[in-house]
Homo-oligomer: 365 residues x 4
């Protein structure tokens, strides 16, 4: 049980919301990966608070690289990224540290860390830590793209507003790249933002469903048992804060289908075996089949709301009511997609490196 | 990337459908766990083909224990379970080994193993291998029960038939124990079986949704990042064949909720802090909060159907049509629940052992 | 902490001396490795008791393969080897199970397993379990040889008898292959056997020093920190029973050298960079440099001796004297070499697979 | 294969000699460990260059703690230590980066990293990185001492000068604490330093043998196969730069002993079972027996010497001669002991945490 992920590309993330910094160490990256800071900046932008629907905390968030990069390329040794915390208002956390916020990890942190946790601003559980994930993911994702592997995520649903599905994967993924509020239909995106603003006005929050696609993954990656492609990817993705479910291909929709509808039949296209449908989301028996990997994840509504809620003093057990103040997002789903993309890149790169060896990510084919 | 799971309690499963045996090695079990073969038999029965809705393959499936058990108790050294394959009809697999069955792993096996895979009856991908998972899970689950930790799963939905939800968890879990077709409402169960038989008559198959509950798990288990309770459990559960999605607590339903509806507010009950609702399924920030762990998984329709389907010769790339014959289940969801329970037991026991040390499972409190 | 080794090629060994069987599961082997049972038999012979200097226990020891091999080749899925225990005399172990034998693991087994251990014949600590290691190692070693990587070990020293050192590595390794009592000088071998027989007559036992060489390992394998080539190999080798030390290259002799004597200077030979000496045993900074990997290990004298020794009842704490009877080796060093070779093959193959990907062992160059 | 160590307490070290910083991330530390910066400073002092026998590079080396510590105690989340590089002279490394230094990792770095490595001052292979190990080890070792577990190391031999052995372990370990040149006999220490200075004057260098003791380790820690106590500790210790061998208890001396001399006979002392001798160095069958853990390691002579040596251009393969200039230690053995102590603390703490659970290090007994 660790805050470290990966068999070959091993990432540990660290830091607390109001500590000196958050960051990541990535061990096992191939030597010779180009570290493109412009690319990383773009990815960091996708995660940053945007416009009227996000928190007021704004930090430059450009990571400092402490190790593992030399003359613009990875050296093959552990890469350390550090993002200083600049904007940590010194509020009076002591007074509220005893009252756990509903939907947050305050109470489970107490159960696990027995009072030693840094409770300021969520501490190690803060969404702030995902900045390190996105930065680390950016280095890896850039290398994946050089191998022809692309990742894209859109908000498939937010309350009763539904985005259109993927049609042309290459073009759709390209269109989502860098988009502030990532939907395939701009009209759906506008309506979703209206829903978010309505919730915000009400002191409330919303969640939603993300749909992701990965194209270009070689066939034959994943294991039949335990380290299935789905299992390894899911393992990583549940680190995305507020993510509470994942489904591949037709997912929960399989419960409505017959076998004759669900099975993806095989066809031959340009001398390559593929399937005429993709209900299995690119994976059979835990192993990639060459079709795009498609999955959906659900993000629960941001737990920080301004409506008063019931809570209990952890010291005395006495019931109380809690009203959260300060800066908070009425929705994080548009920012969560940057984290989903980053974590997906990390997990996919790890599986590829296991399969093809430690130089894979930088190797010219 | 391995066919091995676990940080402390490490399980490797092995075997092929038509090879000499399937089995499991479990390393890291505490010494002093009682190995109750009657209990194991009951668990194996839950997985075995039942009545008119299951395959004709019937084997006694009582595992032989080759190591790690002495005088009826685990010794603390690796436990090896072997289940001989008795009923492997020697059909002509050669002739069809080149034509991958839609929805199966035949094609991905070829991509990964380059022709060396044992293609007879699905080989290592066969559901047969889950017998070993259930046997291994039985030893662990029995030890969990001795610590007051119980697991139960019912078929929550099968096409348009919906079972009632959990009400009294303790009683509901007890009622499901050993049930052939596990539903909480017997009427729903009967209607589901009708749906299965209708599909069977049509040469087709169905899937469904399982809902599981784990009660009695201590608070404070799981990690904030990567080895989250959800992540580790999901990692393991995607090894259940045909499982294509998982959601915790309100799961994908979170997309329809506001934060004020989704947050579980804290209350004090009998001096213990708990929550008034359990939308988070017993987990906040990746860590157990003492409420029951609740999750749902989706099982896709059995890929083996009798309707002819399109496929392609892997050698020549030529299109062909495939009609599967032989014995096959029109539904496996009622049997899959035994595997879900077993894998859940394995993953939970591993997380508990990490948290509380290698003697935990056998330690008297 | 596990009875499992390896990052990519993962091996778990199981079994007890007087249980039904010993065996191994090997996960992560490439598909397409030829499984040569004649080769394996030869390796098993190297480990078997020989002539007058070894225990009387004789078993055929040919492993049954339960999984992962099809038509004579590995499938890429876990390979399970089982060696039945045939010759387990049912002696009265109960009466002596309370008195730990000096130099054995009886007492530490009690400390760790709290009385649940199988104490008959050393249980899981028995040298018998190494039969599984040698069998597993044989499959791997055969695959390494197909890649031009050869391993050889001789008895470098046994009390005051010293074997000659390696001269022509290729020829020396070939000469050791299959040798019953592996020394490079046959005269030294004879004198060593006389020393062993003298100890035997005295009811005593001896140990010795093994020297091993691995040739043909590619350059650039190993990590600078933690998973150094030396560290990973040592980790595995301390599983060889009675092995209490390891040194690479000049080893402890470095303490007598100056830097100017110790440094291996670089030269160019046939367009390949190599070193004029090999004091570093083929490894610099934890990474292979292309020179032969050379290491020595020490095997302590067999703890089972016939002289009476002091011991203590684990139940009462009362002092007593213990006289061991039964069949026991006055030396195991000549058999230990088979285990050293096997474990070396396992560790080397794991490191190579990490470096070059999961198909490496079977891939044609 | 990773630059990360540990099953439960996981440490990754990072950084390059002439990059911005070196450091470590430690995941899996119990919450509530007191972080004593004075204690850490003392440990860092033991590693720092001292007097006339060490390099001129002097840096304050006090690590900055970026995460995982709050109000002076570990929080239970990853602890990140960063030590800035202050004293990195910008020499002309380009001109010599092509000529590998004998005994160093320059050539193997090239083999592994294909020219992307940071070659300045040894890069990631620099002894400088051990500052991070010692800092990380200090936090852990301080926690071990609070549990009654103490570690001490002295220079047992340096060329022909031999220190006295351990007599009273508690007192001897206390005496070594903080000692600049750690020997048990001050006279031996003086003579060793004379040998070092003589080598220095000659532009040469020396190595030596360290002997370490760990007292207070509970019985029953370690596994019978693979994760033996010796194996796990050795795995970690080969990360100490220049360490080329390790032996436990009587070690290579076992080759000179008979079984009757080597076996540690059991006695009862104050109601506790122990052994009358400790030839097995506190470990039987891979598991601690309650006696002090005793081991010796060999440190090769510092490879940086001022005598001209043969080398080869890695680009052209042309032979050349290399004269190393700059600041270099004629011996590092007295500094290496701080690293041996630190790494031992890390490995021991990991094994204890596996055995007794994640809170062990901070738990009051």
């Amino acid at each position: 049980m660790k805050n470290t992920f990966g068999s070959q590309i091993c990432i540990t993330i660290f830091g607390e919301s109001h500590g000196p910094a958050v960051g990541a160490v990535i061990d096992g990256l191939a030597p010779g990966i180009k570290v493109d800071m412009e690319y990383m900046k773009k990815r960091m932008e996708e995660r940053r608070p945007q416009g009227g629907i996000s928190t007021a905390r704004r930090e430059s968030d450009i990571p400092e690289i402490l190790s593992g990069v030399f003359k613009g390329y990875t050296t093959g040794t552990p890469v350390t990224l550090v993002i200083k915390n600049e904007s940590t208002k010194s509020r009076d956390y002591e007074s509220i540290s005893d009252i756990p916020r509903p939907g947050h990890a305050d109470y489970t942190a107490e159960c696990k860390y027995h009072g030693y946790q840094d409770y300021r601003g969520g501490g190690h559980f803060s969404g702030r830590v995902t900045a390190a994930l996105v930065a680390a993911g950016a280095i890896i994702r850039c290398a994946l793209e050089a191998k022809g592997i692309y990742i894209g995520t859109h908000i498939a649903r937010l309350k009763d507003v539904t985005d259109r599905g993927f049609v042309e994967l290459g073009a759709d993924i390209a269109a989502l790249d860098g988009m502030e509020f990532p939907t395939l239909s701009s009209e759906a995106g506008e309506r979703m933002q209206e829903v978010i603003l309505a919730a915000k006005e009400d002191g409330d929050s919303v969640g939603g469903v993300l749909e992701s696609a990965v194209i270009g993954i070689p066939k034959g990656v994943g294991e039949p048992w335990f380290d299935t492609f789905e299992g390894v990817l899911s393992h990583a993705l549940f680190s995305v804060p507020a993510l509470k479910g994942i489904e591949f291909g037709a997912g929960f929709g399989f419960a409505d289908m017959l076998g004759s509808e669900a099975n993806d039949q095989f066809i031959s296209e340009d001398g390559e075996i593929c399937t005429s449908t993709n209900n299995n989301g690119g994976i059979n028996g835990g192993i990639t089949n060459g079709m795009p990997v498609i999955f959906r994840t659900v993000i629960k509504p941001t737990p920080s709301i301004f409506k008063p809620q019931a809570s209990v003093s952890m010291k005395t057990g006495k019931a109380t009511r809690l009203a959260i103040s300060g800066r908070h997002d009425p929705a994080i789903i548009h920012r969560a997609r940057a984290v989903v993309d980053a974590v997906t890149a990390i997990a996919v790169a790890d599986m590829l490196t296991v399969r093809f060896g430690t130089d894979y990510l930088a190797k010219k084919d």
